[in-house]
């Protein structure tokens, strides 16, 4: 049985990270795993690279002793977002990395990190054109059929979609 005070996470390429379990008390995925499969040696975190997981664990360590109520819904409008200077590293990262952290926060189900990355993404795309947004996030990977180029500056159509 693994040490209950620590937890070991294994990334997509087999890299392991062992950290105090208390760091991840806001991760619903980890908490569920500890309850159901806590006797196993390590928890696999597929689809997350070591670089991203390291960043996520840094976030968790920084906020490990926070006493605020856990956030139930990252999009809850009744809980206004307040920038925390401790999270400046997340606000300064490149767009594609931010996207990866957003996905990782969702996979690990850490609402506070989801809100942080979502808010940062929102601030970056706010006021930009669709083309600019595509250019920010992996334009080469965007499949042609996913872009409705005819709809630029279109109106709201009958079905609520955008049409010329």
């Amino acid at each position: 049985m693994s040490d209950p005070a620590n937890i070991t996470l294994v990334t997509m390429d087999g890299t392991t990270f062992t950290v105090p379990s208390a760091y991840l008390h806001r991760s619903k995925l980890v908490q569920d795993w500890l309850r159901s499969e806590g006797d196993k040696q390590a928890m696999e975190v597929k689809h997350v690279t070591p670089f991203v997981l390291q960043g996520v664990l840094n976030f968790c360590e920084i906020h490990a002793e926070d006493t605020s109520e856990p956030l139930a819904d990252p999009a809850d409008p009744t809980k206004p977002f307040e920038a925390d200077p401790r999270d400046d590293a997340f606000r300064g990262m490149p767009d594609d990395q931010l996207l990866q952290f957003t996905m990782a926060a969702d996979i690990l189900q850490i609402p506070e990190l989801v809100r942080l990355t979502a808010q940062e993404m929102a601030s970056r795309i706010d006021g930009k054109s669709p083309d600019q947004i595509r250019a920010m996030f992996n334009p080469d990977d965007l499949a042609e059929e996913d872009v409705d180029s005819d709809n630029e500056m279109g109106e709201v159509g009958e079905e609520g979609a955008i049409s010329k």
Partner: protein, 572 residues
């Protein structure tokens, strides 16, 4: 590790819907962004258009959006109307007249084409608006702000009464209605709600009083009502005139205790129009309003054309526990009579507002009531208004300063622990030593960046020794230098501004005098203080004046110690 950062970056269109919803929910105003984001890819469009919660608020801003037509809004409400609670329409008629949204070929110039009716976005067609509103049964807040509406032909303007009638039937859940919403926006209802060509002698611009009396009871939840520029011409203002004491009775009887805010702002360009209520014409209506409307949270005394001690005593007779903001705004001209209250009436008024947080007095005319704000009155503020956060006594006319306020000390304000904003002007008897002493006293309260204190102080006196006395003191008094350079004082902003009007700059000696002050401040404080000088030309009979303003925003704390201090380090 960095090389791993770019391994298998997720695609922008592969983000799970719940993540996208979270991202979209942070965008303000939502609808502009949502429509733009739905063009990024089909996945984003599906999420943006199929998530009801994202359509709770629609900000329909036509500025530089040629496609934001009335019919487009109509279509949008047909689809998402059931989820819309907050609708804010910002409409600029000129934008609707632009032939194309193409900055590269046409630059930013707006090209008015008044004859091309098909290019007008909002036509105020009754049928369209009736349909539009019918899709908004859960609407709780409606704000319509329009500019440049004079270019809209009269046949495309919606009568105010008709709009209110439609609203009252289609949107019974409305809690807040704001028509206009900008005190400096003159032409909104004046033109938009004009039912007939402006050549007719008796145009009715806003909703009439009988209509308000009829429709307000239908809004069972209405608590906030703002009207801008609504009224009839004074010379014809008989039964149509909305600003008369009977309006107070209507508000009392139809909205009563649930009325939280009623605001009315005049159309500035129409000096002959009355926008205020002559209380003395029906004191019973004022009494009824004061007794019944006890739920007020914000009240603007500006609409009360004639304000006396008796009226304020009547107001203060009933405790208004919920009142948080009280505004006195008395404009130049256009009105009959004036305010004639004294300290006695003002004290009585404040005594009735124990929870007040913001007290604003915007002065431009009426010397009698200016004298009301004196030392004895200041000494009562900590007793009557212990929760005060904002105190503004400001002469907003820079050209011809009003008579001065006879205040000599700020000591009473040192007992207001929550105070974070103080703006004073035209106080020649208030020595800068008293101001500095007051700023030092904030050491007990304003100790973090979130509780920073903001002071604006303006000298308007034109004769020595009071002319620019605060800036002079700042330039030469070592006590100011000691305070500014105190490491415990952390500045967000510290600036001085000297404003020359109408030839004062060219006066013999004026330049040299001001130069000495500016040079000394720059020499003593370097870049800590931002020094600005404005020179403006005069018009007609405007007097030659020079005014000086000091702006400070700061908090006390040891820089570089705690996290918060580090955050503010750049400002120090």
């Amino acid at each position: 590790m960095d090389s791993e950062a770019n391994i298998k970056s997720p695609l922008v269109h592969s983000l799970p819907p719940e993540i996208l919803t979270s991202v979209f929910s942070h965008l303000i105003p939502p609808v502009d962004s949502l429509i733009c984001l739905s063009l990024v890819c089909r996945h984003w469009a599906n999420v943006a258009l199929s998530t009801p919660d994202l359509w709770h608020t629609i900000h329909w801003d036509t500025t530089n959006n040629p496609r934001r037509s009335e019919s487009a809004l109509h279509k949008l409400t047909k689809i998402h109307g059931l989820n819309v609670a907050d609708l804010h329409i910002l409409f600029d008629a000129l934008d609707g007249l632009q032939p194309e949204h193409d900055h590269s070929s046409r630059g930013h110039f707006k090209i008015p084409l008044p004859n091309h009716l098909e290019s007008i976005l909002f036509r105020w067609e009754t049928q369209t608006w009736q349909d539009l509103l019918s899709h908004l049964p859960h609407l709780t807040s409606l704000v319509i702000t329009l500019t440049n509406t004079s270019r809209i032909p009269s046949q495309h303007r919606l009568p105010a009464n008709h709009l209110l009638h439609l609203l009252s039937l289609a949107c019974p859940a409305l809690e807040s209605l704001s028509l206009g919403d900008d005190i400096f926006q003159a032409e909104f209802l004046t033109h938009t709600f004009l039912p007939a060509p402006s050549t007719q002698p008796t145009p009715v611009r806003g909703p009439t009083l009988p209509l308000l009396e009829l429709v307000l009871p239908r809004f069972n939840r209405l608590t906030q009502l703002r009207l801008c520029g609504t009224d009839t011409l004074a010379e014809n203002g008989h039964t149509c005139c909305v600003y008369q004491p009977r309006l107070l009775s209507v508000l009392a009887r139809t909205l009563g205790p649930r009325l939280k805010e009623f605001a009315s702002y005049p159309a500035l360009r129409l000096g002959h129009v009355t926008h205020a209520i002559e209380i003395e014409k029906d004191e019973g209506a004022w009494r009824e309003f004061c007794e019944v409307c006890t739920g007020l949270e914000t009240w603007h005394f500006g609409i009360c054309e004639t304000l006396t001690n008796a009226a304020l005593v009547e107001w203060g007779r009933i405790k208004r526990e919920k009142l948080r903001r009280l505004v006195f705004l008395r404009k130049d001209g256009g009105g009959r009579g004036g305010w004639r209250f004294e300290s006695e009436g003002f004290e009585a008024c404040l005594r009735g507002c124990p929870g007040l947080k913001e007290l604003e007095v915007w002065m431009s005319t009426g010397t009698e009531w200016h004298a009301t704000f004196n030392d004895p009155l200041f000494s009562t503020l900590p007793h009557f208004l212990p929760n005060l956060t904002t105190l503004i006594l400001w002469d907003y006319r820079a050209v011809t300063p009003v008579s001065p306020l006879p205040i000599t000390t700020l000591t009473p304000l040192t007992h207001l622990p929550h105070l974070h904003t103080l703006a004073l002007s035209s106080c020649p008897l208030l020595l800068s030593a008293s101001i500095l002493s007051f700023l030092r006293s904030r050491h007990a309260y304003n100790t973090t960046s979130s509780t920073a204190f903001r002071l604006q102080f303006r000298d308007t006196a034109q004769h020595d020794p009071h002319r620019l006395q605060t800036l002079r003191s700042l330039a030469v008094d070592p006590a100011w230098k000691e305070w500014v350079q105190d490491p415990m004082v952390n500045f967000f902003e510290m600036a001085v501004e000297i404003d020359f009007r109408a030839g004062m700059y060219a006066r013999e000696g004026a330049m040299g005098e001001m130069d000495v002050i500016v040079k000394e401040i720059r020499r003593t404080y370097g870049r800590i203080i931002d020094v600005r000088q404005k020179i403006r030309g005069g018009r007609g009979s405007e007097p030659e004046v020079v005014t000086g303003k000091l702006e400070v925003e700061f908090f006390y704390g040891m820089a570089g110690g705690e996290d918060e201090d580090e955050e503010e380090g750049d400002y120090c």
